[in-house]
Symmetry: C2
Subunit: 230 residues, 2 copies
DNA sequence: AGGCAGTAGACTGTACACAGAAGCCCTTAG
DNA sequence: CTAAGGGCTTCTGTGTACAGTCTACTGCCT
């Protein structure tokens, strides 16, 4: 009733912190441990062990492992438990092939949807990546790369495609991170060319560049020197 | 030690009936109920209800629902439970687009790998589908269609691609089944042409035919008469 | 009569407990 | 000394119990 209409809805509330399901926290924590190699491929994940470490019961851990299993991060052997998935050469290659397919199509679709604002944002990310590259900050480079690809995929406007691509991309990055250093300058040159094609709304060229780009990644994966390093 | 070396290992056992994890049985049962529309989109799935119906406890049900959630069959709203996913027009279209992409690539790759035996098997499936079509057995037609596509995808030799395509295909069939009747004869004509292309190891033509084929499906989905039926 | 608060019911999220199976080590016989 | 068998430990699979929360209904106040 006051001239100052300060009701509860107008106040900026932090979404009223709901308890946030434990299983999601566990899922994210385990995923982080897997992609950072803290949990090595083939390692046996004991439910009760993880549960006590996290200070919770086995149930949320089980549910998180279920999800990790369906997404291919762990293998759930019946009556034996969960093991961190061991990527094979063949699987990595197939995953890279699928990524190439999905990202190329994303680029093609994105070319039809981009706005000047989107282009500006992409260039910004790209510059951030180049800067990180010159500063030799590997983690930042990888993060910028992921952000850029995610942004392009999102611009495709196809949510199903975006989700699938994100899924595959994460797996690929898991395999690829150890050799991320080798491939740098050319990668970001290609990124710049890709953005140019998108700005010109040239879907075919964007798809072509993206395909070559991911194929280069594929080749650099197979030519990595540390073939058998964990 | 008898002259008849009949030890236990040599006997043809049906894989020694392992207890078969309950969660998988629940998963398959629920998936069947969803795709057959026994569980309608938007319906609230109560854990304890399902558990008592199946004569088990809530745990396996929860785990099955978790998996169904990650695969997009149900939506898991926090503190509210599981609801059968309600497909939107937009999502169906995007899913069909992704299917088109995945299957076209599968066909392209399959063309390089097919053997005469594989071709014979594909033709067999195709003939079975045509026979079912003429006999007006809708379920058999749909099953033959799924089998044929699965066989082609498997011939691609890319397991990751195959798994993704299978996933997407299942979802598409869920949306598409109600209108499967409309599209029949042309569909199997296209199948025959596709097999011809594969037999000729013409990957480009196979991919092209598959793309047109799935695009036809897409169009027939949008032109279906029963737009707002359950 | 309409709206709001209070309350009761129901369902999910989590923890705890027990049975069964798989793997491992130790023992024992050849 | 080697190999096979048995007992033990550990972990998974499943059932049961309890607390927090959301919803819907009912009754009261305006």
């Amino acid at each position: 009733m006051s001239f100052f209409t300060g009701n509860a809805e107008s106040v900026d509330m932090p979404r009223l912190t709901r308890p946030a399901p434990l299983r999601q926290g566990v899922y994210e924590a385990l995923l982080e441990l897997i992609v950072t190699r803290a949990l090595k491929p083939g390692q046996h994940l004991v439910e009760s062990d993880l549960a006590t470490r996290l200070g919770i019961s086995r149930q949320p851990v089980r549910e998180a492992l279920q999800r990790l299993s369906t997404e291919g991060w762990v293998d759930l052997r019946p009556a034996q438990g969960a093991f961190v998935h061991t990527p094979t050469e063949e699987e990595a290659d197939q995953l890279l092939a699928v990524r190439s397919l999905l990202e190329a199509e994303s680029a093609r679709l994105a070319a039809a949807n981009v706005t000047p604002e989107a282009i500006a944002r992409l260039r910004e990310i790209c510059e951030g990546g180049v800067a990180a590259l010159e500063a030799d900050e590997v983690d930042a480079v990888v993060a910028a790369n992921a952000t850029l690809h995610a942004a392009i995929v999102e611009l495709s406007g196809n949510k199903v495609l975006a989700e699938l691509a994100a899924q595959v991309d994460r797996r690929v990055r898991w395999y690829y991170t150890p050799v991320a250093r080798q491939r740098g300058p050319e990668s970001w040159t290609e990124h710049a060319a890709l953005i140019d094609a998108l700005a010109a709304h040239d879907g075919e060229r964007a798809a072509q560049i993206m395909r070559e780009h991911t194929e280069h990644t594929r080749r650099s994966y197979h030519q990595r020197p540390d073939k058998e390093v964990t």
